[in-house]
């Protein structure tokens, strides 16, 4: 909306139609994905303020109570309020997924661009190292990092951020490098080189702005997969520790009671899948707007 419209207080029908039309021209996946993501983020930030119970308060109702007025989604084995736990979980999930992915894209992006620009043995060694790291299956790699840090430390959320970031790092690095290889032959990079600009400044001022689109899509793809990885680790008992309300862990904790209280599994499952779906829709839409391809492998 334009600033003049805001100062006039009223929005004419034509203007509204215009801005609606602009939204309508965007891919529907981007619009729906953004709306859903905004809801998730709002819940993550404000949730702790309005959630009816703390996530670890036991005995808020009878164990395995079905949904009712007091416990909107019922309770789990210890009588903890499921609705509050799912709401509190949003913050954990988003924090873990976005921090780790951002870390990986920033570090990987920087290393990849630098590697593509510098070339030579630095590029060769770094890329070979990345290739080796990529050739370990994601979950096994995550497992190895956790074991190297010690199983006792595995409940630490920052360790989990580090694990996911480390798993993504070689993948984002390779992606950024392939972009840089293409960019370094462009005239403006040659000119910057001829001007005597330093490698830092070329990577920062010439390569990065032109690689943003690819890196953004890469961020979306990785961020979309991060909750799956974090949830899987939580499910296997290698992620965060109880009583943290992480959705994967909640599914694993309540799986044995699936028959007695299906909501205890269905609610976190829906919340987790919904988050990944909205991240993926957002990324697909973003990629279409930027004219990029989404590579999920």
């Amino acid at each position: 909306m334009t600033s003049s419209a805001a100062t006039r207080k009223f929005v004419t029908r034509a203007e509204l139609g215009k801005s609606l039309g602009r939204v309508r021209r965007l891919p529907w996946t981007l619009v729906l994905g953004s709306v859903l993501l905004t809801i998730y983020i709002l819940v993550a930030i404000t949730g702790p303020l309005w959630a009816p119970f703390p996530y670890d308060r036991i005995g808020t109702g009878k164990p395995f109570a079905p949904p009712n007025a007091k416990n909107l989604l019922g309770t789990d084995q210890m009588g903890r309020d499921l609705f509050s736990r799912v709401v509190h979980g949003a913050g954990h999930e988003l924090f873990l997924a976005l921090t780790s992915t951002a870390l990986a894209v920033v570090l990987g992006g920087f290393l990849g661009l630098l590697s593509g620009f510098v070339g030579g043995w630095f590029d060769e060694i770094l890329m070979r190292l990345f290739e080796v790291l990529i050739s370990i299956p994601v979950l096994v790699f995550a497992l190895l990092v956790i074991m190297a840090a010690g199983l006792e430390a595995s409940g630490n959320e920052w360790l989990l951020v580090g694990v996911v970031a480390l798993v993504w790092l070689p993948r984002t690095g390779r992606m950024a490098r392939s972009v840089a290889i293409d960019l370094v032959t462009r005239d403006y990079v040659l000119v910057a080189r001829a001007r005597g600009e330093s490698a830092w400044s070329i990577v920062w001022r010439e390569l990065l702005p032109n690689a943003t689109g690819v890196l953004l899509v890469e961020f979306g793809v990785r961020a979309g997969y991060a909750p799956i990885l974090i949830g899987s680790l939580g499910f296997l008992g290698l992620g965060v520790r109880p009583p943290t309300p992480e959705w994967g862990l909640m599914i694993s904790e309540n799986r044995a009671n699936l028959v007695a209280a299906p909501y205890t599994v269905l609610a976190p499952a829906l919340a987790l899948s919904g988050l990944v779906i909205s991240l993926n829709m957002f990324t697909d839409g973003l990629a279409r707007v930027l004219g990029r391809q989404v590579k999920r492998f």
Partner: protein
């Protein structure tokens, strides 16, 4: 023989990768040797007992020496002894590996027709209701974590409908039919997890082929549409999709870990996770190495397939 050289180079690089990966696996797991002694001897072990245990097991020697010994054993097929059961790791892993292989095979057999049929439908009716429905469905499919999908399937088909067992005790199966029925839920979960990628890929490829001149020619000649799709378009669209299939094969060996755990399936994934919690280092190393080796082989296969199927690449490098 440029082609042979390319394949040979890739194979050499894959072996080198595997060697480095073996070192990463070993060092990640054995970086804290104190843990192993404490775990095996229990919490009342004295420092002397732990030291004696480390000496007996050779854990007090430098890591590179132990790595060398371990690797020397591995290349001869000896992965060392399990710390928990005193069996040789090979004896522990082999039956589980066989189970996992059967599960993966079953999943793969389900995956192929599933992706081809849905991918073709999506492409033939592109931008239509079927296509929109399927592409929404695949987007949702690739967003649902495998353990969530597996748990939901176990709930719907196992608990509510009672059609399939929720816990897959494959070793108890009396007949082949029973074994197949037991493995259906985990296999379907894995097949769907793979198919969502293949369907999207095949759709895009097939649309490209359907727009080509020879397909238009066939339609103008009056060839019926099903025949055009099956005989003219599909074979050419399948070629690039084969690469995704090879990559899916690589995914399968990693994704199987979580799905096995969901159904308590006695395969290598369940063994790996259980051994992590038991701190049975030799078994974890063996499992991780075998899974990585299969993964690397599948990726090598994908690489070679790409070269074989795309003649332009054969001379490029």
């Amino acid at each position: 023989m440029v082609f042979a050289r390319v394949v040979l180079l890739r194979a050499l690089w894959a072996s080198a990768t595997l060697l480095i990966v073996s070192f990463i696996i070993f060092s990640a797991i054995e970086i804290l040797p104190g843990d192993i002694a404490a775990r095996v001897l229990g919490r009342y072990a004295t420092e002397e007992m732990k030291a004696e245990f480390r000496r007996m097991r050779g854990l007090d020697r430098p890591m590179y020496v132990r790595y060398g010994e371990w690797l020397y054993g591995v290349v001869q097929g000896d992965f060392g002894d399990s710390l928990v059961s005193e069996f040789n790791v090979g004896e522990v892993i082999l039956p589980k590996l066989k189970n996992t292989f059967l599960l993966a095979l079953y999943a793969f057999i389900l995956y192929i027709p599933f992706s081809i049929i849905l991918g073709s439908l999506s492409a033939v009716f592109r931008e239509g209701a079927v296509d929109t429905f399927l592409s929404t469905l695949t987007l949702i499919g690739l967003s649902i974590p495998e353990f969530v999908m597996g748990t939901l399937f176990a709930f719907i088909f196992g608990v509510v409908l009672g059609a399939f067992p929720v816990v897959v005790a494959i070793n108890m199966a009396q007949s082949f039919g029973e074994a197949v029925r037991m493995m259906t839920l985990p296999a379907v979960t894995l097949a769907i997890a793979m198919a969502v990628y293949a369907i999207r890929m095949l759709r895009d490829n097939l649309i490209e082929v359907l727009d080509s001149d020879y397909v238009r020619m066939a339609i103008l000649k009056g060839v019926p549409l099903p025949r055009v799709v099956l005989r003219h378009a599909l074979p050419n669209a399948l070629v690039p999709a084969l690469n995704v299939t090879a990559l899916n094969l690589a995914y399968l060996i990693g994704g199987v870990v979580v799905v096995e755990k969901v159904f308590a399936f006695p395969g290598i994934g369940t063994l790996l996770i259980d051994s992590v919690f038991l701190r049975d280092a030799p078994v974890v190393e063996g499992c991780a190495l075998i899974i990585s080796a299969v993964y690397i082989l599948a990726n090598l296969f994908a690489d070679v397939m790409t070269v074989v199927l795309n003649p332009r690449l054969r001379t490029a490098r």
